[in-house]
């Protein structure tokens, strides 16, 4: 399993991936720089302890810097997870409405800058964010 995940991270173009629980959206595993995809918006309010709570990691000493960074990462992951999760439920709602026997299998969300590949399984879901080939 670790091997598969490691290989996934090493794939060219893969920026980040995260695994969520399908039922409640809890983050199970993440990898990569999620903050670069979408910086945590609520970091200022959640990070009460650090004074320079902006996502720029240049301010502050090294130790706090690291902490802010990891905090930012987890926050960014959680925020992104909730966005993905709500997107997925609305997509699921659409499919359910069209045919309740049907089931969502794969979502590829292509944007100008990157692509989200979402594999929803009954219990968990995997989101991979990768660079699209230069076009």
């Amino acid at each position: 399993m670790e091997e598969a995940l490691h290989r996934l991270s090493k794939k060219p173009g893969v920026k980040a991936w995260l695994m969520l629980d399908r039922t409640n959206g809890a983050v199970l595993k993440t990898n990569g720089q999620i903050a670069t995809v979408r910086p945590a918006k609520s970091s200022a309010t959640a990070n009460g302890n650090s004074s320079s709570s902006l996502p720029t990691p240049t301010g502050g000493s090294f130790s706090t810097d690291v902490q802010t960074n990891t905090n930012n990462e987890t926050l960014a992951a959680q925020e992104l997870a909730s966005l993905v999760w709500s997107f997925l439920s609305s997509a699921g709602g659409l499919i359910d409405d069209i045919d309740s026997e049907d089931e969502l299998k794969l979502l590829r969300l292509r944007t100008k800058k990157q692509e989200f590949v979402i594999v929803p399984e009954p219990k968990y879901l995997l989101v991979v964010i990768h660079d699209t080939p230069p076009a």
Partner: protein, 690 residues
Amino acid sequence: MQQRRDEILAKKAKLAELKRQRELRATQTNAGRLAAPTSGQKNDRKREIEDMIERLVGDSRPSSIAGAMSPGRRGSRPNSVLSGGELSAAENSEYTSPTNAHPGLAVPAQPQVLTTVPLQTIFECPPSPVKETFSYSKGVQTTDDWTPPASARPRAISELDDDDLNAPTSTPSKRMSRWGRGREEELRQNIRNEIEEELKAARDLVADGVLQSSSVAASNFPARALTSEELAAVTASDEFVDFVERSTKVIERALDMGNEYDILTDYSLQAHDIEDEDEQAGNTGGKGRRRVKEIVQFYDDRWSKKRMISSLDFSPKYPELVLASYTKNPSAPHDPDGIIQVWNQHLHDRPEFLFHAQSDILAAKFSPFHPNLIIGGTYSGQVLLWDTRAKTAPVQKTPLTGSGHSHPVYSVDIVGTQNANNIISVSTDGALCVWSVDMLSQPQESLTLTTPPPNKFEDLAPTTMAFPQADPTYFLVGSEEGPIYPCHRYDRAGAKAGVDSRVSYKGHAAPVVSVDFHPARGPVDLGDLILSSSLDWSVKLWKVRAPAATSTIVESAGTAIPPLLEFVREDVVYDAKWSPVRPGVFALVDGAGSLELWDITVETEIPVAKISPTPGKGGRQLLSKSLNKVAWETTDGKRLATGGIDAVVSLFEVGPDLGGKEAVRNDEWTSVKKLVARLEAISAGVIGVA
């Protein structure tokens, strides 16, 4: 369907019971009214009743008054109570008419008076079967689904749709009068309208629900972050591991395919960026229409390392899948000795499936009759069966002792038809076993192959076996000594089961490593042509005698038939295979690590194309270039796989003159036939002279 019919019947029964009771009550009230002739009393009582009804009706459903006014026009709302009420209203208008006719009771709103009364008695009535058709019973059926909590919402919608669709079939229109039909149409229209309304409402509800839940999710997000123990528990579960396995596979396929072609490419933009796809790009061999191009190479760091490829086969069902069997990795004693990896052309970095065996796998192939099954033969003498729906271990294996093989099995095959096929395996001690796919615990048939009389030793060491397309009872075995022997599975006229002692194909001076029958699917029958490769640095073309013909020819035992044609190479030839679609094309791989493509309709002295796989990533050692096996993709014959000592599976695609069904011309078949006739004449002449 039966259940539904029962429901309808029960409901009908209920209705009939209702009707009866109402009739009874109507007569009773009439009697009561007659007994109390004072109009004032009557009015009081009427007002009372009206009040009560107002209350009842107002509480339950305000619009039911309007509904009661025109019971036939209104579509029944999908709610049993209300539609029951309406139903009774429709009936009531008839039964109450005598009451209306009574002097001093002329009130226009009279019909609604009794509408709700039957509500109280509905469930008291025991069902009694009465045959009557009410189209609005459809509305009644959905009741149960509309009352339960929101979780069942989508189901209810689908059931409503079903009802709408099934409406024409569930009401026997034959029994309906024309009026009834018109009415039914009307009802159906009404129902449809209502369904639409309901759907809209449901959709709103769903949307609301989603909004709510998502906002809840967003607001509760940090609170639901799992603790590290919970995380560990989840990530350690089998379910999660399975999920990771499946989902990463899907993602990798998605990414690998995305790299091959970008579906959003805009050709009107940036024309200069498009890569020059000229013939020199990538690893190619041959020229023009006889080009060979390497598409992809498969190698897994964990499993392919330090192993050798012992066989290759394309899936007959899924042309993008190719299996490779491997021998053991001497530096990893704890890993299984033999493995099979099934590679997918669209999944580059990992195998689609991985299968294990206790011993080195020497031969493996997909079952041509079942896309999920893979058979293999091992060094220990076992014949194994894997299933792609199961895990990595074989689902069935033959025993090592007793009736099975006790020597290495270098050749396995499945022959027969879709409904009756058998696994055939041959081991180097000359034992041939026939197995049923369903039962590998003991062979169905077994046969010992021995060298025919003129030889000094009886022992025959078959290294390879080949069945013709048409006949599952006749086959050729290539031996370690060099000759190729025809064999019969059963006794037939003039020949006993086993090696046919009258004929042998002698020409190779070293062990024969492959024998391949011409796949012959064309206007000319070339099924008697075989190609053999040997460690004596040559490939030979033979024409085999038909098994039936051998019995008629009266010849002394041990007639040796020479080859028609020899292709002498510069190194040992490990494998040679006919193209599945081109009559004159075959591919061979040699110990120098090159793949050669030949077309005997064009040239019999030199290959028409030659290519070597790109050297492996890990830097090759000496002598690791050698290629062991080659396999054609059988459905359109455009792709080839090669594999060898360095455990890299390389996939090649050939140009339109070497593969692909579209460009096959009929004259290719005839020219192969002519060539064979010419060669036969020459060899006959040579023999005649000698």
